[in-house]
Every structure is written in structure tokens, then in C-alpha cells.
């Protein structure tokens, strides 16, 4: 298996880290893969581009950080400005249309998805934005199965919120597939 190096980025409160953890956990618990997740804690709330790195692989991972991601997700303008230069050529860059105005070309597949908008239109709860993003990622790629992610959601999300989360995941996947 090819080694996947992902960087999730955005601003505090968007659920970036949770999404990264869910993905990696799904890979480890349900797909017998190896994964490592780290995050950088910003001192500042303002301008604090939150970042979480995930590596997924079928062989041992030592260095746990991602220098050049082949998948980069940016959910805020600051995050985009800060991290878009580090994407690995040929990689995948996912941004949200509501939050990010892309302003330069990178040598990568660039996908600007209306994830926030979709969530607000179809579910109306911004809290599941991150799960929709995860769905989109799965839709666009295929290294983790959506079923695995759903299993993780079941263990992490209180039952009364489970449905909207699953719905958000499905919406995201559709979006991802559509923009594939």
C-alpha cells in the first residue's frame, strides 16, 4: 500500500482534529492498517491555523509528522494561506467554498467543495461540517472505507447525534464523488 500523508487544517472549533482522528481510527481499528495522528496546538485563537497530521500505511511509521502531504484539506483562509505551499506535487487539495478563496495554482488536484453550504442547507447544523468534510475526502479518495468511519462514529457520537453525523458523512461522500 502506498503511504498516505494527510494534513487537515482550519481554525479552532471546526472539528479538524476530530475528523483526522476518526479517519485514522477507522483505518487502524477496522482496516488493519497502521496510522499515526498528531496535531499542533496553537497558542493563539486568532489566526491560529489548527493543523492535524495523519499518516496511514501498512508498514511501521516512525516519524509521525507530515512534511509534504499528498492530501491537504484547508477549511479556513489562514490555513490555506499557510499550508497550501507544502502540498506534494500531484497531491490532492480540498478547500471549502464558504471559507477559502483559493488564489494560486498548485501542482495538485484542487477541489473546491461547497461542504459548509451543503451541510447548512441539508442539515442546518454547522457542528457536522467536519464529518461532511470527511465524507468528501472518502468520496474523493478510497484508502478508508466509509463503513469503517461509520463504525467509529457509532462509538464516539452520542446516539441522539449519530443520525445527523451519518447523514453529513453521506452528503460529503456524494459531494466527493461528484467532484472526483
Amino acid at each position: 500500500m502506498e503511504r498516505h500523508r494527510l494534513v487537515f487544517s482550519g481554525s479552532g472549533g471546526q472539528g479538524i482534529i476530530t475528523a483526522a482522528v476518526i479517519l485514522a481510527e477507522a483505518a487502524v481499528l477496522y482496516e488493519n492498517l497502521i496510522a499515526v495522528q498528531t496535531q499542533s496546538y496553537g497558542a493563539e485563537a486568532r489566526g491560529g491555523a489548527t493543523r492535524s497530521d495523519v499518516i496511514i500505511s501498512d508498514s511501521a511509521i516512525y516519524f509521525p509528522k507530515v512534511n509534504q502531504p499528498n492530501v491537504l484539506i484547508c477549511l479556513s483562509q489562514e490555513a490555506y494561506n499557510k499550508f497550501s505551499p507544502i502540498i506534494r506535487p500531484g497531491g490532492l487539495l480540498i478547500t471549502d467554498t464558504r471559507y477559502v478563496k483559493t488564489h494560486r495554482k498548485v501542482d495538485a488536484r484542487q477541489r473546491e467543495l461547497p461542504m459548509y453550504q451543503t451541510v447548512m442547507e441539508k442539515i442546518g447544523k454547522p457542528i457536522v461540517f467536519n464529518i461532511c468534510m470527511l465524507g468528501a475526502l472518502i468520496g474523493l479518495t478510497d484508502f478508508v472505507k466509509s463503513g469503517s468511519v461509520k463504525k467509529v462514529l457509532k462509538t464516539r457520537i452520542p446516539s441522539d447525534f449519530l443520525e445527523i453525523n451519518e447523514k453529513a458523512l453521506d452528503l460529503g461522500m456524494k459531494l466527493g464523488n461528484a467532484y472526483k
Binding site: A35, Q37, Y41, F63, K65
Partner: protein, 382 residues
């Protein structure tokens, strides 16, 4: 799904391992990047009937667990640099009064408040020498979650074996990183339990007189052997004494029980040392980058090896000397200004072949950093 397979933070692994040993008492005060340890304890302990206390500060936390240890419980506290500095007086007390307990320091960057959310390994020498007076101490560390588990269990075992506080010196990267871990089944890792005095009610009881095998039985507060615990120099009954012979005996005992057992205490891992021309010595999260470089270069046929230390104190001088005897270069990889470097230099013949590959700016040291330094050492320039 394997029931025992988990994908969690290093801090949580530490909690799971402590519970595995039978820990049922924790007291602490939050501080980044160790806070998750106490947060998980707060969730987990009441569920198993254990006790969780949030104290007013760090020294109170250490005092509280020392107290709880005396009633026979396995205990732990967790903190980071600033809190560890505040614990030093109570740490000395636990050493002198010989109270088993485990203190976790998840290191962050810098001295003083420093760079709280960033990584560093600057507390290595403090862990050895932070409290006043001559003493010895056991300090352990690990670089991945499976080892964090094993070493944490080990820390509790050593605390009981030698009736002493043990420091677990992790770092921000290990503490916050999530990776997979298989939680061992009950019984898979042997546990050392508290050795309790077997004297009957009324029989003279010497809480500070080692047995033939060196271990010191203890009696729980609340049991039939009442005794006295003090931080003053004390005799074998635990009562204050300033008799020079008693004092001498006590201090030698405290140091020797650990120093003389370095062979038994020292844990390490080695990778490709047999024929290594260049040996990296590292520990904690830095060892991950070191191992990355080693695997990488080995795959290119270069003779690199890694000695990963898991016991930092007592420092296994003999081990380092032996392993490095034939190496041309020894490169210590750590995230400080060379705290283990000094000990390595003292260990080996020809200390001039020992180099330092480090970072001190709060950024996790990368394989590239190490490679760049190796090139310089080998005379190849930047």
C-alpha cells in the same frame, strides 16, 4: 475488531497501563501537555471504584499520592516542567521515606513557561538532580505507544521493587500523538506487587531494614504494624536520628539500592548495532526520527545503528560503553542542549567521537535534521 486494539494518545496509553498494574489512586493538577492523563483518570477511575483527586497545586498532588501509597495503593501523578519544578521538595521526601509512586512528566519546550504546546526534552537532568541533597532516582521513557504501555507498567514494578518514586519522562509528541496499541491481556506482563511486612501484631517491625534480597517490606497505614514515616534522617524503625553511622547507612542505602541494580533496571532497545559504524543514541519521541533515518540508510546499505534508551537514570554507562566500543561515530539525538550527551561522553572511550544532533526550538526533530548533521559529522558539509 480486536477488543484490545486501540487508537489513542500516548497520555491515554499511560493511563491504561497504570490501570493495568492495579493503580487505583491518582491526584494531579492540570498542565499542558500532560493534562489528558488526569482527564482520562477522572473518567476511568470512578468507573472501577478508584479515587481521583484534583488538588490545589502540583506539590499537593504529589503529597496526596504519597499519602495514598502509604495505605497500600498504587498511585501516580502527572505534570509537565513547571509543575515538576514545584514537586521537587515532595519528591525528595518520597525518595528518603522510600514511598513507591510514579510521577509522569510529559515534557514541553523551554525552561520557565517556555513554549508550552511544543515539544522538548529539557528536563532530563532535572529529573536526576532536581531535589536537594544526594539521592538516586529511576527515570524511564519510551518512544511509541506499545512501549509507553510496557514502560509504564515497568515503572510501577520498579517503584514496588525498590520502594522508590519512579519518574516517567515522556514528551509532548509521545503524549499527544495517537497511534495504535494492543492493550496486553491481564497476566501478559508480570506485575510486582507491594511487599508487605509479615510480622504479627506487637512484633518489632523495621520498616527500613532491607531483607536478605534487598527488598524492604512495608506495612500499610491502617494495618497492625504502626510505624513512623519521616523525611529526617532516620533509623531502621523510621525514627529520626542524626547519629552519623545511621545517617551514612541511610544515604548509602538510598543510592546503592538503585545504582547497584542498574543492570536490572536499565531497559533499552537496539537496532542494527552489530556492525554499525555510526551509532545513534536516542530516546523518547526523538528516537522515532532517529529510527527513521537508520531504517532509511540501512535500506541503502549504510552501516547505521540505533541504541534507544528507555532507562535514563540510573544511566547505563556500562551498556553505552559496550555497545559503542567499535563505532566510529556516536551521535546523540535529543531535543535539548545535550543532556544525555554528557552521560554518553562519560561512558565511552574517546569521547571526541561523540556528537550531538539536536533541536531546541520546540520543533520536532526531523529525519532531515539528523541527516544534515550526519553529513556534517562525516565531513561532507551541508
Amino acid at each position: 475488531m480486536n477488543e484490545n486494539l486501540k487508537f489513542i494518545q500516548g497520555n491515554e496509553v499511560c493511563v491504561e497501563a497504570a490501570l493495568y498494574t492495579g493503580l487505583d489512586f491518582f491526584a494531579g493538577y492540570p498542565i499542558t501537555p500532560s493534562t489528558e492523563i488526569m482527564e482520562h483518570m477522572a473518567k476511568r477511575l470512578p468507573k472501577i471504584g478508584g479515587k481521583f483527586l484534583q488538588m490545589e497545586d502540583e506539590i499537593a498532588s504529589l503529597c496526596a499520592i504519597i499519602g495514598a501509597s502509604l495505605t497500600g495503593h498504587k498511585v501516580m501523578t502527572a505534570t509537565s516542567g513547571p509543575g515538576f519544578s514545584l514537586m521537587q521538595e515532595a519528591l525528595g521526601y518520597a525518595i528518603v521515606a522510600e514511598i513507591p509512586c510514579v510521577i509522569v512528566n510529559v515534557q514541553r519546550g523551554g525552561s520557565s513557561t517556555g513554549i508550552p504546546t511544543h515539544v522538548g526534552q529539557g528536563d532530563v537532568m532535572q529529573a536526576r538532580w532536581g531535589t536537594h541533597g544526594d539521592h538516586a532516582i529511576i527515570v524511564m521513557t519510551a518512544s511509541n505507544h506499545q512501549d509507553v504501555f510496557a514502560i509504564t507498567v515497568d515503572a510501577f514494578n520498579l517503584a514496588e521493587t525498590y520502594r522508590t518514586p519512579v519518574i516517567l519522562l515522556f514528551d509532548e509528541v509521545v503524549g499527544h500523538m495517537r497511534e495504535r496499541i494492543f492493550i496486553p491481556k491481564k497476566g501478559e506482563i508480570p506485575l510486582v506487587e507491594r511487599l508487605r511486612a509479615s510480622v504479627k501484631r506487637g512484633v518489632d517491625f523495621h520498616p527500613y531494614l532491607p531483607r536478605e534480597d534487598g527488598r524492604l517490606p512495608i506495612s500499610d497505614f491502617g494495618g497492625v504494624n504502626r510505624h513512623n514515616v519521616t523525611g529526617l534522617a532516620h533509623d531502621m524503625w523510621g525514627f529520626p536520628s542524626d547519629n552519623p553511622q545511621v545517617v551514612h547507612g541511610l544515604i548509602r542505602h538510598l543510592v546503592d539500592k538503585i545504582q547497584n541494580n542498574t543492570h536490572k533496571i536499565a531497559k533499552y532497545k537496539e537496532y542494527y548495532l552489530q556492525d554499525a559504524r555510526t551509532i545513534l543514541i536516542s530516546y523518547g519521541s526523538a528516537a522515532r526520527s532517529a529510527l527513521h533515518v537508520v531504517e532509511n540508510r540501512r535500506s541503502r546499505g549504510e552501516k547505521l545503528g540505533l541504541l534507544e534508551l528507555q532507562t535514563l537514570w540510573p544511566f547505563p554507562y556500562y551498556l553505552v560503553q559496550e555497545k559503542c566500543a567499535d563505532a566510529k561515530y556516536v551521535v546523540v539525538v535529543e531535543m535539548n542542549m545535550g543532556q544525555i550527551l554528557q552521560a554518553v561522553k562519560v561512558s565511552v572511550d574517546r569521547p571526541e567521537r561523540v556528537f550531538l544532533a539536536n533541536r531546541i526550538d520546540g520543533v520536532f526533530i526531523t529525519p532531515t535534521d539528523i541527516r544534515n548533521i550526519l553529513r556534517l559529522i562525516e565531513g561532507k558539509g551541508v
